[in-house]
């Protein structure tokens, strides 16, 4: 049996509609639908850490009470390997009847926009097949990435980022219960650093508290900068100074360590070029080359080779600066 929950995002996850901060309109409507037992398929669209999973769990808890775990299946589309895995799990789960008085079970498919369009077509059929025994709640960051036939089968709820006031309330509540010492500035830093993502804010708060019971802006800041891969600038500086070998070694390290995709790397390079301390005309040339390589990433087969060719251009640009 699960004992005391030590991870705060779980310990302080709301259990009832009334406990949720923010998203007031959505809560009201979903609560009414749940109470009427007339639940449609639903789609929760919105940024990470705004309460989508929380609301899905609350629906399940309200509906099934002590049997919620038996009647609720949570799947993550970005982790499950392909639609076949999802179908199989859905099939196994939907085969048995729900326990208790509610005539259906709930399947929560998180990050549904990670599925390809083909996989979504297959999902649509699965949804149709099990409508008698299951209700689907899909979550996604962007509803535009979900195919129309699925959208049209769901009631769509759009979640927005938490506002500063709402986030402050949550942080204050947790700080009180955990007996933390936190000031205005630190709260502000949590809000800015998490960019309105409540899960991230609470994780940051707990991580900070594991270092010191006094939560300061400074520690939060250090933790934040530690989590960001900022080193693209270092790669470019090596290349501009003519050290191709070091530049490519560092680049490979960054890509492997955080398993960053080449397309993400090239985005940060493109942003960074503008900040470089070089002749503006060179910036234009390098940006053009960056764009060309971004295009080739899609055409080619080996992302790293393409990025190396870009680094070689930076080496060349570096020579131009000196001459």
């Amino acid at each position: 049996m699960v004992g005391e929950l030590s991870i705060w995002t779980e310990r302080y996850r709301p259990n009832k509609f009334e406990e949720v901060f923010g998203q007031d309109e959505i809560i009201k409507r979903v609560k009414n639908l749940t109470n009427s037992l007339n639940l449609p398929h639903m789609m929760f669209a919105g940024p990470a850490g705004t309460g989508k999973s929380t609301l899905a769990i609350i629906v399940a808890k309200e509906l099934f009470k002590e049997y919620w775990k038996e009647n609720y299946l949570e799947l993550n589309a970005s982790d499950a390997r392909g639609i076949d895995v999802i179908r199989q799990e859905v099939k196994n789960f939907a085969r048995t009847k729900s326990l208790g008085s509610v005539p259906f079970k709930i399947i929560f498919l998180d990050e549904a926009d990670a599925l390809t369009r083909e996989a979504q077509q297959a999902l649509r059929r699965t949804m149709e097949n099990y409508t008698g025994t299951c209700r689907f709640i899909l979550s996604c960051n962007y509803s535009s990435k979900i195919i129309d036939p699925i959208q049209s089968r769901c009631v769509i709820f759009r979640f927005r980022l938490l506002e500063k006031k709402e986030m402050e309330k949550i942080v204050k509540k947790i700080a009180e219960k955990e007996k933390l010492n936190i000031d205005e500035k630190a709260t502000q830093m949590l809000y800015e650093g998490s960019e309105g993502d409540c899960r991230r804010a609470i994780n940051l708060l707990q991580a900070t508290s594991s270092i010191s019971p006094i939560i300061t802006e400074e520690i939060i800041n250090i933790l934040l900068s530690n989590a960001k891969p900022k080193d693209i600038r270092v790669v470019l500086d090596y290349a501009l100074s003519g050290d191709f070998l070091k530049a490519r070694e560092k680049l490979l390290d960054i890509m492997l360590k955080e398993s960053t995709a080449g397309t993400d790397i090239i985005k940060s390079i493109q942003k960074e070029v503008w900040n470089l301390d070089i002749d503006p005309e060179l910036k234009v040339k390098l940006t053009e080359k960056t764009g060309e390589v971004e295009f080739r990433l899609v055409e080619g087969s080996d992302e790293f080779v393409q990025l190396e060719s870009l680094l070689a251009s930076f080496v060349l640009a570096g020579l131009g600066v000196k001459n």
Partner: protein, 413 residues
């Protein structure tokens, strides 16, 4: 200790005729030519040493000058186009010619590169031969091209043969002994056989074997090394040799997939090319990769032709229309794939832990992985129990946590 940039072929270049094996006929002929020239009884004023690469043509010229105590004056094909340089060779020496001065020979090395055009230098070479007061030694690989017909008629021709297998093997044994290296006899035999009479190539191969034996070799690399001899030759051909008709066949005898060869190229381009050449070479790599992408996506196998073209001619042309100096370069096996594999092994634990954390906190594995450093800090014993971590995972998490805490200390300090 052996300096890695000094080629063995340079270090053990013979200094006396007696150290040269298997070229007795050529030695006698060239000696006779020079003494005939000095006595004024020679028909021709130049001698042409021709034969395959790495057989000792240049060495022969140098040894000759040393044994006869003659000064050697070297001219390359661009010098031939340089009036003042030519005049310098011809005039001052004729004027300074005195009883006390040493004799002198002029060496025109690797005449293959010169052409008959205005930019060439071949006409100048002919003029030089007509006007010279000193014996001229010319070396050449392929003398039977049409453009050399006039030159051939002006020179005494001395063929230099390929060095036979037993002599190459003998050289290899002697030199590895002098280097205090014990190299497996079979390996030496293989090198000797593969060299096909090219002693320089054989010594370069020997050098690369001596080096790889000094470094710690991983199991994967041993397999690679078996194929390495071929790939070393092919890389040398593409990187160093001036681009020529057969450049695009460089990988034909290499028993390796083209994609694997591409990795070798990628690894070693920076050891040969810098600046503009580096950028051009990687541009060729990039283009080859685009064709590879098209092959994979469209199963359009004809595109392999273009992939190969960019990986041979494309890379070779990066240095322009010239050859690189004959300096030994140690080529390394590709490290990237091995590194990716090792990191994946390492990250396997991170992935499985992230999966368990994700399940516990209603999120995705990917997101948990992204915030792993923060999550490592908040995972206490209780949570670990709930996650059902294996002992290894538990250890890994503790290590990571330690790492994060340490890095925080450094940052705040």
């Amino acid at each position: 200790m052996l300096n890695p940039t000094t080629p063995l072929s340079e270090k053990y270049r013979p200094k006396k005729f007696s150290e040269i094996k298997n070229q007795e006929v050529a030695i006698d002929k060239i000696k006779a030519f020079v003494s005939g020239f000095n006595k004024g009884i020679s028909q021709k004023k130049a001698v042409l040493l021709y034969g395959p690469a790495g057989t000792g043509k240049t060495t022969l010229a140098h040894v000759l000058s040393q044994e006869l105590n003659h000064e050697i004056f070297e001219l390359n094909s661009s010098d031939l186009r340089n009036r003042s340089k030519l005049d310098e060779v011809l005039k001052p020496s004729t004027q300074q010619h005195s009883l006390f001065s040493k004799g002198k020979v002029i060496l025109v090395d690797e005449v293959d590169g010169v052409t008959t055009t205005d930019y060439g230098g071949l006409p100048e070479l002919i003029v030089l031969i007509e006007r010279t007061k000193f014996p001229i030694i010319i070396t050449c690989n392929d003398i039977w091209q049409n453009k050399f017909s006039l030159l051939r008629s002006k020179c005494e021709m001395i063929p230099i043969k390929e060095i036979p297998y037993p002599s190459i093997l003998e050289y290899l044994k002697e030199i590895s002994k002098k280097e205090n290296k014990i190299v497996n006899e079979n390996a030496l035999k293989e090198i000797a056989a593969k060299s096909r009479g090219d002693l320089r190539a054989a010594l370069n191969d020997l050098q690369s074997i001596i080096y790889s034996e000094e470094t710690e070799i991983m199991q994967q690399e041993i397999d690679l090394r078996e194929k390495a001899q071929d790939i070393f030759n092919a890389l040398r051909e593409v990187f160093k040799t001036r681009i020529h008709k057969k450049t695009i066949e460089a990988y034909d005898s290499v028993e390796m997939e083209i994609d694997q060869i591409a990795l070798w190229l990628e690894e070693n381009i920076p050891s040969e090319y810098r600046g503009v050449e580096l950028a051009k070479a990687f541009e060729a790599m990039s283009r080859a990769d685009i064709f590879k992408g098209r092959i994979y996506r469209q199963q359009h196998w004809r595109f392999m032709l273009y992939q190969n073209f960019f990986l041979t001619a494309g890379i070779s042309a990066a240095k322009g229309n010239k050859s690189l100096p004959d300096r030994f370069t140690k080529y390394n096996p590709p490290k990237r794939i091995l590194k990716i594999w090792m990191i994946n092994q390492k990250n396997a634990k991170k992935k499985s832990i992230s999966g368990k954390l994700a399940e516990l906190t209603h999120t995705s594995k990917k997101r948990a992985q992204k915030d792993f450093n923060i999550l490592a800090l908040i995972t206490d014993d209780n949570t670990k129990r709930q996650m059902n971590l294996s002992e290894e995972e538990s250890e890994y998490l503790a290590e990571k946590r330690q790492e994060v805490v340490l890095s925080l200390g450094k940052l705040s300090a």
